[in-house]
Amino acid sequence: MFAYVIRRLFIGVILLLVMSLVTFVLFFASPVDPGRYACGKNCSPAQIKQTNKALGYSKPVVEQWTDFLKGVVAGRQYPDDAELRAAAPQLVTDCPAPCLGYSVVNSTTVNEEIKEAFPVSLSLALAALVMWVTGGVIFGTIAAVRKGSIVDRGIVAASLVFYAFPAFFIGIFLLKFVAIKWQLVPPPAYTPIAEGGPGLWLQGLLLPGLTLALLYMAGYVRMTRAFVLESMTEDYIRTARAKGLKNRRVLIKHSMRAALTPLVTLIGLDFAGLMGGAIITETVFNYNGLGKLAVEANLTYDLPTIIGLVLLLGSFVIVANIIVDVLYAVIDPRVRVG
């Protein structure tokens, strides 16, 4: 198992290298001059040249890429050009390893940007995950047990309705009505645990988490329902009933154990995707998470931030995949390899 994880991690690193190269190439293949963008509207050609030099855009793409990789491994300093650094030592920014780059737009290193946004996205994704998995499994199981009844149809229909509404509708509804107009909960604002303690932290996550959870829950309700129903027809369920087990025990110990295994894979991938994918929800509730950061970076042509985020979010998916596979072996004894 250990060797397997190492091998998977190795493949993951190669994948990330390829991703970063592709992002670099795509960026420079576009007709926009990044130096001009970074410098601003009223720059003279000389200023643009200076900017390019400071950011390293004047170098060939492949050299920029290797510089970037060096920065990730050993850290680097900005401005990129040694002459410029020597000319104005007071303006030099140090970017320790793993350095993902320097964002001119926000005048800070990408690492700092991510350090700000990451806890927001992580909190949001965690809150949503807990809500949608709990809700999805409970409602999906109830629907399966009461298959064909009003309860079943109601649950499936309701989950579909929530799924059909776009995130900005549910988000704005929760914000404008539940929080502001009816004042059922305080208006959500992200408070780190360090500042406001777990209570305020959770309170802030309630509505945005719910917005995301409602969106994801529909799929989980339907899948849980289908998996539980499928497992109920298995021979081992008949065996369990023939032993004289109570229905509840047959359902929880025998049926759900088998039904929930495939969900683990989906949970891992959805969670990783949500880390950078909750763009609309983060925008509606004005949460400065990774999704919002990515959108802003794209709008301002902020290459270092874009590359940093691509790699970070890519590594989330890769790591989540490895964790899911390891978990799978823990859950299903047949997968365990000798």
Binding site: R238, K243, G244, R257
Partner: protein, 348 residues
């Protein structure tokens, strides 16, 4: 006759959108303690459905079950769901055809066997596990104290079936239903499993119902045989009587499709032509008549219009058959026996 298990006029019907599927239609039989009943028939003849009804596994489904299932004088169709649940696995246990799919892949063999014990006995996990080890040892699993922690997929087919038997017998049930216990196993293992079942039956004094389509299994195991076709009993009697003097063309067909290694090995097997009938719209009259090769021996169109009653045959009172042929003993001796076992004809 006060028998241990007495089934009377058992009907299991499944209403579907296309009509009612009469999986079992008016089945009656008896079983004494320590005896074995073999239920024989093709796939879909209602064997498994009938035995599931004895365990009450059709409760809370759409199936309609009627009749009487008296176990030690108690009608299992009338007891409450909770009472039935308490009897399942304790008074009546069942072992299934394919032990790989019948055991939960995510739990150890010991966990699953111990669970069967813990449902009916208020004991700790440790005690249940010790009991599981004891049972695994009893059914001939080597190193049971180590194998108890294995998962089903780590067992061989024969060992899994032994483990299933251990699970079935752990509560010492009065009645054990074995649903095709050897079908998924290879031949040498089949014989071992059947021997084991017989040993355990003697030891535990259980009544056993063995469901099979293999007349070889019946010949070895069963005291009585019930031949089923399209949800009904078509022949019922002692094993010796049914196997040596069958009086129903379907039983003849079953006999002639059994390979005989002691006889002429070049002899072609004679399968029963056609397929089992649809239980949704069974043929009129005798359900076997479209496949019957002997219906010309019955006058007129009796076979296709009137369902024959299950009545005593020509030889003994206890031998029941459902056929219009008036002289089945003669037909069997003259036409069927020479075809399936010519060497036996001379002996007689």
């Amino acid at each position: 006759m006060s028998s241990f298990l007495s089934v009377r006029d058992l009907k299991v019907h499944f209403p579907t959108v296309d009509g009612v599927v009469k999986a079992t239609d008016g089945l009656s039989f008896d079983l004494a303690k320590g005896k074995t009943l073999g239920i024989v028939g093709e796939s879909g003849s209602g064997k498994s459905v009938s035995s599931s009804a004895i365990l009450g596994l059709h409760r809370n489904t759409t199936a309609q079950v009627s009749g009487e299932i008296l176990l030690d004088g108690v009608d299992l169709l009338k007891v409450s769901d909770e009472e039935m649940r308490r009897r399942r696995g304790k008074d009546v246990a069942m072992i299934f055809q394919d032990p790989l799919s019948a055991m939960h892949p995510y739990y150890t063999v010991g966990n699953q066997i111990g669970e069967a014990y813990r449902v009916h006995h208020d004991v700790s996990r440790k005690v249940a596990k010790a009991r599981a080890v004891e049972m695994l040892d009893r059914v001939g699993i080597p190193q049971p104290d180590r194998r108890v922690d294995d998962y089903p997929h780590q067992f061989s087919g024969g060992m899994r079936q032994r483990a299933m038997i251990a699970m079935g017998l752990i509560n010492n049930p009065g009645l054990l239903i074995a649903d095709e216990p050897t079908t998924a196993l290879d031949v040498t293992v089949q014989a071992q499993i059947l021997d084991l079942l017989q040993d355990l039956q003697r030891e535990f004094e259980s009544g056993v119902i063995i469901i099979t389509h293999d007349l070889g299994v019946v010949a070895e195991m069963a005291d009585d045989v019930l031949v089923m076709y399209a949800g009904r009993a078509v022949e019922y009697g002692t094993t010796k009587e049914i196997l040596t003097h069958p009086e129903m063309p379907y039983t003849w067909g079953l006999l002639s499709s059994v390979p005989d290694v002691s006889g002429d090995t070049n002899a072609a097997l004679v399968p029963i032509p056609g397929n089992p009938p649809s239980l949704l719209s069974p043929p009129s009259g005798c359900p076997f008549h479209p496949r019957c090769q002997h219906k010309d021996k019955v006058e007129g169109d009796l076979c296709s219009t009137v369902l024959p009653e299950l009545v005593p045959g020509t030889r003994t009172e206890g031998h029941l058959k459902r056929c219009h042929i008036t002289n089945p003993d003669v037909v069997f001796e003259r036409e069927v026996l020479p075809e399936i076992a010519p060497d036996l004809v001379e002996e007689r």
